[in-house]
Symmetry: C2
Subunit: 261 residues, 2 copies
């Protein structure tokens, strides 16, 4: 199957044109699963909660309609980040498929000023059993918490879809460790561009990437390009946790020797 | 305080000269804590269990006497790996100080053919509160299990002493992630050289390194040199888990959302 990361350059607050940019990039590509960046439709660098509220949507809002329409036309799956308006405001990722909405993930580990704007996710780390394999989602800063990818991998995911807005240079390499330690695939979709708003100046580093369970960087985009990067993978490879004839990474966990509470 | 990694080139089975090489390197350096490689006194690539048995020592054996003698003379602490002969045979690391033996760690996650030769560690991940800071130990392959460093960090260690025999090229970078995600220092001491024995041909990659809680590589040795690399650090820096005004990495753990059993 073909997995793709979509690297975009959203303009803050321009939801309509940001969604059109992403849809246009995906229209021109061929993949079974596309992963888009965190908050790909709104931009990231909010100044206050009113902006967040103003740009929020229900999970079946206009962004969903555009994305799920494409998923239906192309008969594919799409993971994308957006501001979810529900009982509270969440930094969420949705999974859309040919038949509509499949699942939702709400960011649990909020980074920096996100703590002012969003409620922390309250749905754990759900896993979705698709025809192409088992998929889980985590967003951006979760790469810093090994428990995030571990929780997904222990529930059997083959691939972690990882919408991101990366700023720090070491972020892409961290995902190599996450894939190696869990023997899973990861598709990290990042944005590019700069947002200098309200005294906070952020430049996003691109480098969207797809990493294999062996830690191989199957695709890594450049810092300043937009586009789609696809790789052909066999997701079932992630189900085998043996790294040699004596070591199965997961059977080898010694939970009785850990102290993780 | 000054932390040092010692990169050696042991000859298989030549315990006396291997220990003398390491002692000589440390005699010529100045540090409060030295970390030596895994199995630095014996070499690593055992062919059968009889060899392991033959080269094993009690925790207060000849290697300990040489190392602890140096620790007393130089008034320093030394972590080193050796084959421990106890109720069973363990791939262990000992911590010696000016007053003698301080602690022991038995490798929990055995790699590849080590599973044929050693019993898995059964002492958890002990933490030692030294005048220079809180120190824990893990050995080589433990870098692959995020639970190892996490268990140590949650118990408050400032520095992970990490005796290793690294072969794979991605190993040193994995420790950057371990330090970042736990905000701790790590001192990874690796060996160099090649051991082609019994049909298994291993080349060790050197690159001993000291990494800061911010993921900075404070020292990284070359692939083919022996020697000592020292850095001056403030270990107390590891006690601060705040990465910005909104995020404390450890307070931000959402244990109720993880599934790690």
């Amino acid at each position: 199957m073909r997995i793709a990361v979509v690297q975009t350059n959203p303009v803050f607050g321009q939801v309509g044109s940001n969604v059109r940019e992403a849809v246009s990039l995906m229209e021109g590509a061929n993949a079974d699963l596309f992963v888009l960046p965190e908050l790909f439709n709104t931009g990231y660098n909010f100044v206050n909660k009113e902006e967040v509220e103003h740009l929020s949507e229900s999970v079946t809002g206009e962004t969903f309609r555009a994305i799920s329409g494409l998923a239906k036309r192309k008969s594919c799956y799409i993971v994308y980040g957006f501001v979810e308006k529900a009982d509270r405001l969440y930094n969420s990722a949705a999974l859309a498929g040919p038949g509509g909405l499949i699942g939702l993930y709400r960011k649990i580990h909020l980074y920096y000023r996100e703590n002012l704007f969003f409620a922390a996710g309250n749905m754990g780390f759900p896993v979705f059993d698709l025809p192409l394999g088992k998929i889980g989602m985590m967003i951006c800063f979760h790469r810093m918490y090994p428990e995030s990818a571990r929780t997904l991998a222990l529930q059997g995911v083959d691939l972690i879809a990882h919408p991101s807005n990366l700023v720090m240079p070491y972020c892409p390499d961290a995902m190599v460790t996450r894939c190696l330690e869990n023997r899973v695939f990861a598709a990290t979709a990042n944005r590019i561009g700069r947002e200098n708003r309200g005294g906070t100046d952020l430049t996003y580093i691109g480098k969207s990437e797809i990493v294999s369970p062996r830690g191989e960087i199957l695709a890594r985009m450049k810092e300043e390009e937009t586009g789609v990067s696809c790789v052909e993978v066999d997701l079932a490879m992630a189900q085998n946790k043996r790294i040699n004839e004596y070591n199965d990474l997961f059977l080898g966990r010694k939970t009785e020797q850990y102290r993780l509470s």
